[in-house]
Symmetry: C2
Subunit: 240 residues, 2 copies
């Protein structure tokens, strides 16, 4: 059995907050648990917030804004390594980390104040790793940590949460070479368990009720890896 318990009562996060401590006070963490933390609070604690007032939008940002705030588009362009698709003001971009997502992960909702936007963490694996170490220090528990974000998907409506940072969790479960119940070899079965853990946690997040983290117990996916393991290598990608 797997259980997913929301971490309730976490206050609004500001730059410099000890997010791990604020979670540890409110969560029962035991060895082998996986803590999934929403990117937004990780970014806020790390000060990954941009004030739009300081920005001068480029011509391209103005073109893509299509009547919305061109300064937000300017931030998106600065966070992007490659624009994948646009339908102004919608931009699907590859971030510097290699994630392909709407607005290069730049988000105005749940921002700390008006006229600001929140960026993805600079290095979400490192964010997960720091949270994990600090939680080990605070609780003694050896857990896994996933930093999650809500991504849209081609062809399907709605977002699902995926893992953008990972520490102490095996992101992919590779069944290659294992045999199914009938004895036939399973070929290309690689399961993105870190993304499934992120999606499972999102079920208790509640975007409007401000639950930014959840503890997943009973999922046996401890190990090492990086959220980069979840990125399709360009040469295998049919959708670049």
């Amino acid at each position: 059995m797997i259980s997913i318990v929301p971490v309730e009562g976490v206050p609004e996060i500001k730059e410099g907050d000890d997010l791990a401590a604020l979670i540890a006070e409110r969560a029962d963490l035991q060895g082998w648990d996986v803590l999934v933390v929403a990117q937004k609070v990780v970014s806020k604690a790390e000060g990954r917030v941009v004030r739009l007032v300081d920005l001068e939008p480029s011509d391209e940002a103005r073109r893509l804004a299509a009547g919305e705030d061109p300064r937000r588009l300017e931030v998106i362009l600065r966070e992007s390594k490659r624009i994948v698709r646009t339908r102004p003001p919608l931009v699907i971009a590859e971030t510097r980390h290699g994630f392909v997502c709407a607005s290069a992960g730049v988000d105005a909702s749940n921002a700390p104040e008006p006229e600001t936007v929140v960026l993805l963490p600079d290095d979400p694996d490192a964010s997960a790793s720091r949270l994990r170490e600090r939680l080990r220090e605070l609780t003694g528990a050896e857990i896994g940590v996933i930093v999650s974000d809500s991504f849209g998907r081609p062809w399907r409506q709605g977002t699902t949460d995926v893992a953008i940072g990972v520490s102490g969790v095996r992101p992919l479960l590779d069944l290659k070479g294992e045999r199914d119940a009938a004895g036939y070899e399973l070929h290309a079965t690689v399961i993105a368990v870190a993304d499934e853990l992120a999606a499972a946690a999102e079920l208790v997040f509640g975007k409007t009720s401000g639950i930014p983290a959840a503890v997943i117990r009973g999922a046996a996916f401890a190990g090492e890896g990086s959220a980069r393991d979840l990125l399709m290598p360009a040469e295998r990608d049919l959708f670049r």
Copy 2:
């Protein structure tokens, strides 16, 4: 809190089996639970199995096979409404239902015998609905049912389970117009909760240990809808 309990000990499924009864005997089902059932066992119970020996592959199937069994490609082409991408023998196709996935959902792993492949259910919403009604009859519990399948994703490695059939579950949670904790209106926040429920269930499935279903308790997403609600309308799809 949400819990996810695997339904263990379900025997190998054959055409005509009363899948709902085989699950009801092995699961504790209560009102508001969501039962997620892997497509493979639903398809097998419905006899959605094709014997390759009966098939004559077309020229296109031979071309796409790239050395693999062209009869399997023939089945994929027959199940497809539109080919989205190919890199033989890999085919990403839109199924007759509108799902975009590898091999149009045609699968040789976990097939009932060699030289057979398993197709998606003809109408997965109807499959979910029949299971739901039969389970209500057997247990008295008013539950939701999701038929799930493992889909790959552009840009990301590995599969995650998604909902291809839904009954008694609200597939999308639309937060449009709701306000976040800071009072700002959330704009385009639609969460694909049925896909997240499917992904959460997959964490206990175990492709090799033959667990074909899981009971999710504590997720408050009862309602009505169709897995078609999860399909991006063509006119909004940037990735056709």
